[in-house]
Symmetry: C2
Subunit: 189 residues, 2 copies
């Protein structure tokens, strides 16, 4: 259970990685706790999406006030790496999640960044699983790439209203597409 909570890590064999070690980074603990909530279905996915839309909307708006932040250069770099031909879904989603956390980091609120990091860790496997179930992932991925570019462009242009609206639509849209298909699957169609 302590391992599931992200508090200790178990290693086999001998050497510095062997045995049970206490993990020092408390941010991991936040992510693990949210992940556990999710695993026990105590936190509905719709609420996670609502919280993400709220934090990311506010962050995109705030980031547009500092359009020359080095975090935005990093975000640009992440988008370029997501364009790599033949990229696998796991790598794509790691970069996608990093892009979202990086926009929040650019806004400068360390508490929001810690929460977004926790949420990213909490939903990573769920998103991967959801993606595998989508009928046309390459088409969805192409749309997500265009939306990421448009969000970053609005922030760079200092247009906070537009950046906030685009990121909220992006987060809610992906959830809507995926829940529609999840329901189909549950209904056996």
């Amino acid at each position: 259970m302590l391992q599931a909570l992200g508090v200790v890590r178990s290693g086999v064999g001998s050497g510095p990685e062997a045995g049970t070690t206490v993990i020092a980074d408390p941010a991991g603990g936040i992510g693990a706790a949210l992940r556990l909530h999710l695993a026990t279905r105590r936190l509905p996915m719709a609420d996670l999406v609502g919280t993400r839309a709220m934090i990311e909307g506010a962050s995109a708006r705030a980031a547009a006030l500092v359009p020359s932040s080095p975090d935005l250069d990093h975000a640009e770099d992440l988008l370029s790496r997501m364009d790599a031909p033949g990229i696998d879904a796991d790598t794509y989603h790691q970069l996608d999640a990093d892009f979202h956390v990086t926009i929040t980091r650019a806004a400068g609120n360390a508490v929001n960044t810690a929460i977004m990091t926790a949420l990213r860790d909490a939903i990573h496997h769920t998103v991967l699983h959801a993606t595998a179930a989508l009928p046309d992932w390459p088409r969805t991925a192409a749309r997500l790439r265009r939306e990421h570019r448009a969000i970053l462009r609005a922030i760079r242009a200092g247009d906070g209203d537009r950046a906030a609206a685009l990121v909220v639509r992006h987060v809610e849209g992906f959830h809507r597409e995926w829940s529609r298909h999840s329901q189909d699957v549950e209904a056996g169609s």
Copy 2:
């Protein structure tokens, strides 16, 4: 360290409370992780206030859509208990923090409620300490009580815009008053 993280609890003597027990509620783990962040000064208080203002503003607005929620009856009850003559500061702040979490709960997003619970636990001791340092606590407390009543009244009236504006001003105002005084103390005046 596991105790500090809120993962285990130690009890002395014999019986069901004795020995080291793993705590089942992962929400405690989120609160503990944020508390640890704060203790190590990795999360600035100004950012915690910014996150609270964002979540509580959005929650007050959403709660105004469900003005007959039983959570709002509970919030009303908490305000009555805060009016008790001769109430000590510790009890007052527990009720005050519960009031804020209850408004968020009324809005119905379980993730926001979990985050607010974590933040409440993270800042409780800091707020108590800050209050003790204020030049005229009874006067501040009277103002906070009036503000709580006005926030709940706006929610009950279904006026989401006003409720959101009032709660943001309330959260930011208390922080401003207190940081002004903290700076005075640090400067030795």
